[in-house]
């Protein structure tokens, strides 16, 4: 192998390193090859004596220092501190909005329960008055009221089930959103 081929292969095997580090590595080995040739070796012998470019590159990559995470520049920190009254209160406002929206959702959910409650009340009233009509001999009225009462009872149970489903669904959705936010934060920290 000739010197230029060696250096080219070495350079190709060092991707990702900072340009000036690569340059230093190339210069070092070029110098070594030249010195050996000055000592009397042929170019091929000098290159062979230095070693295999890919193996050397692997060693250089292994020893390369890892890039440090850059700390925030001073002006950014100052800006963060000085602007804190603004962004802190904005954060608080946003947070309160989220909380109130959430509370409203639950308020609506809870008010939905008035449907099964009122249906239940009507059912009871229907069956009771139906029974009274039964005893006063007004059979058709009794049948109508009891029938309606029973229907309302059924609807009551059905709507109650629906309300429970809605409530469970909301709880589940809350947990899911909460977890999604938490894992997003954890990923940021791990980076």
């Amino acid at each position: 192998m000739d010197k230029q081929t060696f250096l080219d292969r070495l350079r190709k095997a060092l991707p990702g390193l900072p340009a000036q580090d690569i340059q230093k590595h190339i210069e070092y080995y070029a110098e070594m090859i030249d010195d050996r040739m000055e000592d009397g070796l042929t170019e091929a012998e000098a290159v062979a004596a230095v070693g295999d470019p890919e193996a050397l590159a692997a060693q250089l990559l292994a020893e390369a220092p890892k890039p440090k995470k850059e700390p925030l520049p001073v002006w950014a920190i100052v800006l963060l501190i000085v602007g804190s009254p603004i962004w802190i209160s904005l954060l608080a406002a946003a947070f309160s909005v989220v909380i109130s929206v959430y509370a409203t959702i639950w308020a609506v959910l809870i008010s939905l329960y008035t449907v099964p409650i009122s249906l239940g009340a009507v059912a009871v009233a229907g069956v009771v008055s139906g029974t009274v009509f039964l005893f006063t001999g007004r059979f058709s009225l009794a049948a109508a009221f009891v029938g309606m009462g029973l229907a309302c009872a059924g609807l009551c149970m059905f709507s109650f089930r629906l309300c429970n489903l809605a409530a469970k669904g909301t709880v589940w959705l809350t947990k899911w959103i909460f977890n999604a936010i938490c894992s997003a934060f954890r990923k940021e920290k791990a980076k």
């Binding site: 210069e27 070092y28 080995y29 110098e31 070594m32 010195d35 230095v50 070693g51 060693q59």
Partner: protein, 106 residues
Amino acid sequence: MDIQLKRGLLDVCVLAAIKNEDSYGYQIIKDMKPYVEVSESTLYPILRRLENAELLTVRTAEHNGRLRKYYRITPLGLQRIEDFKEDWKELLSICQFITKEDAAHG
């Protein structure tokens, strides 16, 4: 030789090679050859380590129409050699202890 022992020795060895006058990479290898075989790829990280620790400085000079890097020892580097000489005395007494054990049970 055990690699841990060798690593500490090689650093000081390189410093000793440039103690009296500036030298360059290949010359350092040749100077050390009678005592220990060092390859270019072994020497390179040593030179970088010594430079980072400010035990030597590097300069580029022209030689026969090409550029060559010359290494010069710093006062800190000279101190390192002196420290090593002190350590060596302690090392010698430990060696005597280790080899004496052998003889007693021989």
